[in-house]
Symmetry: C2
Subunit: 313 residues, 2 copies
């Protein structure tokens, strides 16, 4: 009895065959070939699934992760920033038809939340919120031990809470979303703008032009004591903290888990986050809502897909 | 078979005897006597309950509404702004002991949400969010037909979402909460400050000093075309709209219901709210999330308490 899981990314498709107790028996990674168009990508997904299909024994479920927003009720990938031509693809039903097994689909950040809940930093906690701070900001909300996808299937988009009414344009078309002011992209943008204004910073010695700065260099410079970089991280951490305050008042979760590459900066980001929560919410909220780093590594999304299948089958 | 419901307010305690199909057979209202201290208030609640207790027939549940935040899991009123000395009162268990029937307790705005869901503007909608815009801002979140109270019982506090990072101090100790920038109190504060700065407005002819302005006069002046008052309402409506945007991305509800005395201003408040939603969220969200006025009047909280009892018994 097996569960097959697939993590569709813009450059790679990863797939694995899992036993119901969470062991990954076999895994593969093949190029997505996104530039060759939607049909080719669908065939690549099918190929990855066939590669991990068991020689014997039944497949009880197929669980798929997609980058970008998913309509959870209809099983549709609304669009994916990194795969040209994907718009409203009914990925769940397409794969269910191809393979004839119960198929589940969710957004990758939502699945990462479920992975951390079932196998990572959130084990044993029934109500938690996970945020991934990376190029963008995504996340997932676990309510009473289940992934919460909103009344109409498009909820859980923590990255698009408005935290700065007069903030910069976001990829979603809004302004001042959390993602627009606190993602890796926003951190790099702030640093570049400061350098172009002539700010003095260790960053100038680390890149040959401001345009090359990414959040990684800002984190590195901040770790070496660079003032500008520390201020930029403090600002991002403060905005994330404001989002956590709102999330506490709305969901009153028992735990926040913060993952994603930008969260590797550790205290640089966690300190202003926690300080903002203490300063701006009542004690009964922040005192009972720890903020911890994510525990799982690269497999978090595949493990989340497995958790989704286990939850739904 | 009866359900008894009680609405504890700062000045009045209202109680009613209901049949399970939602008919209120008898109702009473007695003074709270809040100034006489917590024990007196508890006795007044007991007295109101005894006044509607049936001559014959069993009481299957008692449902209580409290003003101010309630710890839903423990059945405790954390504090109430209008009743001095109330702090962490285990009201649910106290009344259950006194009367020996299953007893339920929730915050008044949470119950109003449930009332609108079951008997008002939200009938038939399984996922909705209700906001009441009044002296403060409260609300309630209905998920899949049930009142959502958060992972640790203190959720659903929509009035304390942070919508303005650099906003004014809120009663909760935070800054820039929705309540601090868009409640009736905030609207009056903005108007007074403008008048004190010497702004020209119809308001000056309506009160003898700026300190007398309340949200009601601002609404009246705005309805008569006063520029300052219209701008103040537009600002409040815009902030509420920003909160609705975040709520759409998090909960993706099928309906927003807006109640409370300030919402009686109608389009003055609803127009900027809806415009903000359209401008700042994706079409798939705002197009599928109508915003409607509350349908129930003064009995909304009692009806919500009845709905809570019907949900839980």
């Amino acid at each position: 009895m097996y569960i097959l899981v697939v993590d569709l990314g813009g450059t790679q498709i990863r797939a694995a065959r899992c036993t119901p107790d969470g062991q990954m028996e076999e895994r593969v990674a093949i190029p997505t070939l996104a530039a060759q168009g939607p049909e080719v990508v669908l065939d690549r997904i099918r190929q990855a699934i066939r590669m991990v299909w068991p020689q014997e024994g039944p497949v009880t479920a197929l669980a798929l992760s997609a980058p970008g927003p998913v309509d959870a009720h209809r099983g549709v990938v609304r669009f994916t920033p990194n795969i040209p031509g994907w718009k409203d693809v009914p990925l769940r039903d397409l794969m269910a038809e191809s393979f004839g097994v119960p198929t589940f689909l969710a957004n990758d950040a939502n699945l990462a939340a479920l992975g951390e809940f079932r196998f990572g930093a959130g084990q044993g906690v029934r109500d938690l919120i996970y945020l991934t701070i990376s190029t963008g900001i995504g996340g997932g909300i676990i309510i009473d031990g289940r992934l919460y996808e909103g009344g109409q299937g498009l909820g859980g988009e923590v990255g698009h809470m408005v935290v700065e009414p007069n903030g910069p344009l976001c990829g979603c078309g809004g302004y001042g979303c959390l993602e627009a002011v606190a993602s890796g992209t926003a951190i790099a943008r702030e640093a570049r703008a400061a350098l172009e204004r002539g700010a003095s910073s260790l960053l100038t010695g680390m890149v040959s032009s401001p345009g090359e700065v990414t959040a990684r260099e800002v984190a590195e410079a901040a770790a070496r004591g660079d003032d500008l970089s520390r201020r930029i991280f403090a600002r991002a951490g403060t905005y994330i903290g404001l989002a956590l305050v709102s999330l506490m008042y709305l969901f009153n979760p028992a735990l926040f888990i913060i993952g994603g590459s930008v969260a590797n900066a550790g205290d640089l980001l966690f300190d202003p986050m926690r300080q903002t929560m203490r300063e701006r919410s009542q004690r009964v909220y922040w005192e009972n809502t720890p903020v911890v780093p994510a525990a799982l590594g690269d497999d978090v999304v595949l493990l989340g897909a497995l958790a989704l299948a286990l939850e739904r089958v």
